[in-house]
């Protein structure tokens, strides 16, 4: 189920009630586990079986890994986990993509082969929970941690509903110890949790769905060349939409967990105020970027080898990071562009010796805007469904579209301008601050007014429970 639905309101109310009843801690954890399965099954009940298999495989493999001493045997057990987890991912998410590319490859050597019709539904959030369970097994394999003693705790770690389908991707060390001792939210945690839920819903329903989605959809779905203003506004709208959609989800997830007494890590930290791309990736989808760093970039050698090898590792990591988002070459190009940006930044910093932020507020602001502008170019490949579509938008952004059509109504152009300007300004002002810090310093009545306005907008904008963009990844 999605957070922005009445079904979730009822589900969460019942769960909160159960969680505050005088049950034993084990009973409460069982309640949470069952609730998490219900949360997932509410999309497509049979896919819960995938969660069970993933849980069982990694539970068994981690124990066997820990008990085994021989290198070969340990590798064999690791392969079992990788085969099961990545096998599911490959089949459900990349099956059609692989077949289509195989068909194209065969055609290029003159072999005509028509793949069978692919009618497989993608299990929601499979990329997220696959990475989460893999991190557990990999940590045990790498000797970073021991296997857990409680299967209940492990199952809950894999399935904990607030972050199950769209992150944050949590590491065992961040969450599992919280299951060890009874937890119940304090009144402060509960109130702040609800505050975060309101903020996340506002980002999703009011800003992403109601404020920006129409413009992004209209421009990217035009199917014709679009002019400079439409192309830029459509892309800027998507940059805001995807941020508000995804950061909104993470914020609701964090708030929901907090209401139950659990702490989830930050997943976004004002990414559009980033100065440079290494800074951007320290602020955007933090749980994924750190996962890729720890389980892909560093095992590949990271920056410990030659300069050329470092660049290669960087590119490989970002290309695979792109593919993680979706089974399409456009996502690979999106990742590749970020890889090039990171490599370029590394090269410039290496040649100039500049570390950290540049000196001078104007320089910092200019570089932040340049970073945002370049990030927007990558979003074109992320949002466009084909390279032809991406090329149309990029031509428009360069002012080179032939016979462009006007797409956006004036009111949409104004909305995109106002929301994006507001979003970027707020992120810039809060670049080095946390929301908690801002709220702590603001007058209580101002915080109350803002929260009430956001909640009122959520209630009166409603929405039809549209799914979050990142569910498809």
């Amino acid at each position: 189920m999605v957070f922005n639905s009445l079904t979730f309101v009822v589900f969460f109310a019942v769960l909160l009630l159960l969680h505050r009843m005088p049950f034993s801690w084990t009973t409460k954890k069982i309640n949470l586990l069952i609730a998490s399965y219900v949360f997932y099954a509410a999309w497509n009940p049979p896919f819960v079986i995938l969660l069970w298999i993933s849980t069982l495989v990694d539970w068994v493999v981690a124990r066997r890994l820990y008990e085994s001493t021989g290198v070969t045997r340990r590798r064999a057990w690791l392969l079992v986990s990788l085969a099961a987890n990545l096998g599911f991912l490959a089949f459900f998410k990349y099956g059609e993509f692989l077949l289509a590319n195989w068909q194209a490859l065969m055609a290029s050597v003159g072999v005509t082969w028509v793949p069978p019709e692919w009618n497989i539904i993608l299990p929601v959030g499979i990329s997220f929970y696959t990475f989460q369970t893999l991190s557990y097994t990999l940590d045990v394999y790498l000797g970073r941690s021991k296997p857990l003693n409680s299967m209940l705790d492990f199952s809950l770690f894999v399935t904990f509903f607030p972050q199950l389908v769209a992150g944050p991707i949590v590491r065992p060390g961040q969450l599992v110890p919280q299951f060890a001792v009874p937890r119940q939210a304090t009144s402060g945690q509960m109130l702040w949790g609800f505050g975060l839920i309101i903020l996340g819903l506002f980002e999703k329903i009011v800003l992403a769905d109601s404020g920006l989605a129409q413009s992004a959809d209209a421009v990217f779905g035009a199917g014709k060349p679009v002019g400079f203003a439409d192309a830029w506004l459509g892309t800027l709208a998507f940059s805001g939409q995807i941020f508000c959609d995804f950061a909104g989800y993470s914020t609701i997830a964090i708030g929901t967990a907090l209401c139950l007494g659990f702490a989830l890590p930050e997943n976004f930290r004002m990414p559009y105020a980033a100065i440079g791309f290494s800074d951007f990736w320290r602020r955007w989808h933090i749980s994924l970027s750190t996962w890729l760093r720890d389980y892909l970039y560093i095992p590949l050698g990271g920056n410990r080898g030659s300069e050329a090898r470092t660049y290669l590792n960087l590119m490989l990591t970002m290309l695979l990071g792109g593919l993680w988002h979706g089974a399409s070459w456009t996502f690979v190009v999106w990742g590749g562009l970020h890889g090039l940006y990171l490599a370029g930044e590394r090269w410039i910093r290496g040649r100039t010796g500049v570390k950290g932020d540049p000196v001078g507020a104007q320089n910092r602001l200019a570089l932040a805007l340049l970073t945002y502008l370049l990030v927007n170019i990558t979003w074109v490949f992320f949002r466009a469904e084909t390279f032809e579509g991406a090329a149309r938008i990029l031509q428009g952004m360069a002012g080179l579209a032939a016979e462009p059509v006007a797409v956006l109504p004036t009111i949409y152009m104004i909305k995109v301008g106002v929301i994006i300007a507001g979003m970027v300004t707020i992120q810039w002002l809060m670049r080095k601050r946390t929301l908690e810090d801002v709220v702590a310093r603001a007058p209580w009545w101002l915080t109350g007014l803002v929260a009430a306005a956001m909640l009122f907008a959520v209630i009166t904008t409603q929405g039809s429970g549209e799914a979050f963009i990142y569910f498809q990844f």
Binding site: Q189, L258, I286, T290, D294, K415, E436, W444, G448, L455
Partner: protein, 360 residues
């Protein structure tokens, strides 16, 4: 603490040192007051509790009745005209059957006819509403209802449960109306000049109907009385160019495709009838220029061999009230339904020989 270290340490979240309880109470009081005021304002605009949105989920509820075979098997498909112009209560009163209403605003019924013919064992009486500038085109319909044909099967348990909750809320609260969401109102509130070729929210279809159980759709009473809203709707339907949408060859192709599907349903013991609901004013004139009856409606009946009711052929179906030229007012819809069901009862043996709850 570095990010690498943070990955291995138990997450702890800071709670702001603010008067959170006071803030919570302030939010609660302000939101309750603001929502109550909003509800009052929406009621003054003519919205009512019990007016249910016509959503994908509500359509799926009705569509599943066809699949389950637990309901009378008269089914209506079509666009908004047959949806607005049919009084399901009158149908039930006259025939003992309440039809399943599957017509959809701004949607071509032909893909639905195809689905019922090819992918179901449907063998009832299928009433197909024909709106010429939709039926005789290859336009599938507005995006809102795109992909709906299989949605009744694909709808998730969460969506089904959510729809039930939503309907129950809408029975009690007026402001949840889909056409009067805050974002929609903001889009419409400022009449800005749009660039050439762009259709802005001012040119969107605004609220036209009220919807009750079983997707009984009736023209919104305020639209019948409010000259501004009525004129706005007429303007939206424009510009009434009367341009032909398709060539005769395409119309022939559509008729032939429709014939195949009609015959598939007939082969199973079912029946298909077509109904051309009234239109008026510039809209009717434009339709007659673009898709004249002789080059669209007549070939359709000739090719399919199906029975059809064209409102012009029956005096009791003419001179009805169409405030915005495309849909009947509530009272006229009741009259129109009574008139066309009477004709169907007389002309369609299926209706006479089949008892409610069973197919022939």
């Amino acid at each position: 603490m570095t990010q690498a270290q943070a990955q291995d340490q138990v997450t702890v979240r800071e709670i702001p040192a603010a008067r959170l309880a006071t803030i919570g109470w302030l939010v609660l009081v302000l939101v309750v007051a603001a929502v109550a005021a909003w509800e009052w304002k929406m009621r003054t605009l003519g919205l009512q509790a019990g007016d249910l949105d016509d959503s994908k989920s509500q359509w799926a509820v009705e569509r599943r009745k066809v699949a389950d075979g637990v309901h009378d098997d008269v089914v209506i498909i079509g666009s908004s005209r047959i949806l607005f112009d049919t009084d399901l209560g009158v149908w039930e009163e006259m025939t003992g059957r309440r039809p399943i209403q599957l017509a959809l605003p701004g949607t071509n019924p032909r893909p639905h006819l195809k689905a019922l013919a090819e992918n179901s064992d449907y063998a009832g009486l299928l009433v197909v509403g024909v709106t010429p500038d939709i039926f005789f085109t290859d336009w599938p319909g507005i995006p809102l209802f795109a992909g709906l044909i299989d949605f009744w099967k694909d709808e998730t348990p969460a969506q089904r449960f959510g729809n039930r909750l939503w309907v129950e809320l809408q029975r009690r609260v007026a402001f949840l109306d889909d056409s009067y969401r805050l974002g929609t109102l903001i889009d419409r509130s400022v009449a800005l000049t749009d660039r050439e070729g762009v259709r802005g929210p001012q040119r969107d279809v605004w609220k036209l109907a009220e919807v009750s159980d079983h997707r009984q759709t009736t023209m919104w009473p305020r639209l019948e009385a409010d000259v501004f809203l009525r004129d706005h709707a007429r303007w939206v339907w424009g510009p009434f160019s009367g341009e032909p949408l398709l060539e005769d060859a395409d119309v022939a192709r559509i008729c032939e495709e429709t014939r195949r599907h009609v015959e598939m349903i007939r082969a199973r013991g079912g029946e298909v009838v077509f109904i051309r609901s009234p239109s008026a004013g510039l809209y009717f004139e434009s339709e007659e220029r673009g898709q004249p009856r002789a080059r669209s409606w007549e070939p359709l009946l000739r090719t399919t061999g199906a029975f059809g009711i064209h409102f012009e052929d029956y005096p009791e179906m003419r001179n009805l009230d169409l405030p915005e030229w495309s849909h009947l007012s509530g009272a006229s819809a009741t009259r129109f339904t009574r008139a066309y069901v009477e004709v169907l009862t007389r002309e369609i043996p299926w209706l006479r020989r089949s008892q409610p709850g069973e197919s022939t």
